[in-house]
Subunit: 335 residues, 2 copies
């Protein structure tokens, strides 16, 4: 087989940044995805309707045919009126960042229970809760596992709330998502299907592979692959693609994030093909996520051809995932 | 107490590099240590007597009163004559690098049993075997633990061979060293007493803390501290101080190594004092190591005063351990 046609994929977790570079990042995503759930940890964060709509306008100005699915950054401070207005304006989700666990999360949630009233309103309005599930203060490799109990508490307290456990990185979290009710789903990134900790600190230090949550052991990667290949509708793609300029990575205090947007789908085709589960790819990238969010599935399609290409070492000043590597599949028509 | 006088410390594991920078690195070490066990993983490595003696001469040219304890890089290719000549020339140890586990170890040992005949000669001649105890190919966090069985095999096969398990990083290795015969000792670095994996990848990526073996969990650090504070003569200081120019750290494939030479003793005084075990410091830094190697203990002393100072951000183009931090103790007379 030398061509693959997929329903136009959705990226249910993407960072588009701000200012000058925004347009380039949006174009990279829009070259392979029809929709993207846009993360709100901009500076300042997305917390007001005007900020959200202004950001959406900037994204659409870059690529009019791309559909940004907008989010807000969770805090204890929202009123029912505000959240209702968000919902009316098409905002789909609120993002829960525990304080300090990742890029621009210093202003995240530090008191778990303080956000319960806001979450209760979200449940009522049908807004999805997206969670960066890492426990602040825990040892780096234990943060996700330590957070699982909070997801369990939320699922129990708010039984109609849709919760997405974002960018899973451990076997324990995969098991928890399987065990939790159908209201709890999870995203999996491309890089967590590929990397373990060895790819960051195993030989040389690889800053461009550094991200949160940290990729962990081979057994964790295997569990993530098994979930992605399972055909279980709880697991779908959210790339967490996060561009950081080279200088923010190759420095004394490097930023966390992997820029996978330019290579996400070709890499996934390659991974799924090599494991002989290509038939499972379509739902993972363009089915289950839309279903969970209550969005129509894509009607457009996108085509890839088997035609090896070398991933550029740098894209708009950012070193992308798989930089310099040869990938089997390329976007049809891409030169 | 505002001054501390110690017998002049020995560093039983140090990297001095080559060429122009060598003299600066030697001066940093010699400012606080009387002797240093000089690692042979230079380029090319130290494998011949003439190379070893030439390197020793360069070190002495930088600081005539410093005593470099010379080593050779282990391989299956040494004859008894060569090792005898090493011994006669005052070389004290051979260093076992498994292939590919750290800086300049591509030419390390890939077939464990291939070096047994050489090790047997070392045992007979009374040359110490220093081991970088990490198993190539294992998952990064498991490499040291996976190597323990090789240390156990060596200790059993060569009962009179003195073995140093270098730069311990795990609770398992500490336990193994306690359990093994008196012929097996271990070095502990300053940075492994301070760091866990959190200090490399817990928040931002900290390339200047990246080293092999990787610092691991808090429980591992606790075991290392307990061993260093125990007063057990099997555990002594080997800093593994390893200067890498800033550009070799802050780059796409960063080098492993922490430059602790400029701050080693002040940091240790601080650590031991804060844990109220200052009385255990003298043997750890200038007693047990000399005893194990069969060297006379130092007769000179060195004095530190309580007089806080800020560690420079950079020393000869290298970012040292604790850069920018304030340390309690300073070398007497240091401005």
């Amino acid at each position: 087989m030398d061509t693959i046609e997929l329903p136009l994929p959705d990226d249910f977790h993407v960072h588009l940044r701000q200012d000058a570079a925004l347009a380039s990042y949006v174009r990279d995503v829009a070259s392979q995805f029809g929709r993207g759930l846009v993360m709100p940890n901009t500076v300042p964060p997305l917390t007001t309707l005007s900020a959200i709509l202004d950001y959406k306008k900037q994204i659409l100005a870059a690529v009019p045919h791309f559909e940004p699915l907008m989010t807000f950054k969770l805090s204890p401070n929202y009123t029912e009126e505000t959240l209702y207005a968000f919902k009316e304006a098409g905002v789909v989700a609120g993002k829960y960042y525990p304080a300090g666990v990742t890029t621009n999360s210093q202003d995240g949630v530090s008191d778990f229970e303080s956000v319960f009233p806001v979450i209760e309103i979200m449940e009522r309005l049908g807004l999805v809760l997206c969670v960066h599930g890492e426990e602040p203060g825990a040892f780096c490799l234990d943060r996700e596992e330590a957070f699982i109990r909070r997801i369990e508490i939320l699922a129990k307290m708010f039984p109609r709330l849709r919760i997405v456990f974002e960018h899973l990185s451990t076997e324990s979290a995969v098991k928890a998502v399987y065990a939790l009710p159908a209201t709890v789903a999870a995203t999996i990134t491309v890089h967590h299907l590929i990397h373990t900790l060895d790819d960051i600190i195993g030989d040389s230090l690889r800053p461009h592979h550094f991200c949160k949550p940290l990729p962990k052991r081979p057994a964790d990667r295997f569990a993530l692959r098994s979930a992605a290949f399972s055909g279980n509708s709880k697991f779908f793609l959210g790339t967490d693609s996060a561009p950081h300029l080279k200088g923010k990575k190759e420095c004394p205090c490097g930023a966390a994030g992997v820029y996978s947007a330019p290579v996400a789908i070709p890499l996934l085709i390659q991974i799924f093909e090599r494991e002989d589960v290509l038939r499972k790819l379509s739902n993972f990238v363009s089915g289950f996520g839309a279903d969970f969010y209550g969005l129509p599935r894509a009607t457009q399609t996108i085509k890839y051809v088997r035609n090896p290409w070398v991933v550029p070492e740098e894209v708009h000043g950012v070193v992308p995932l798989a930089a310099g590597e040869t990938l089997d599949w390329r976007l049809y028509g891409q030169v």
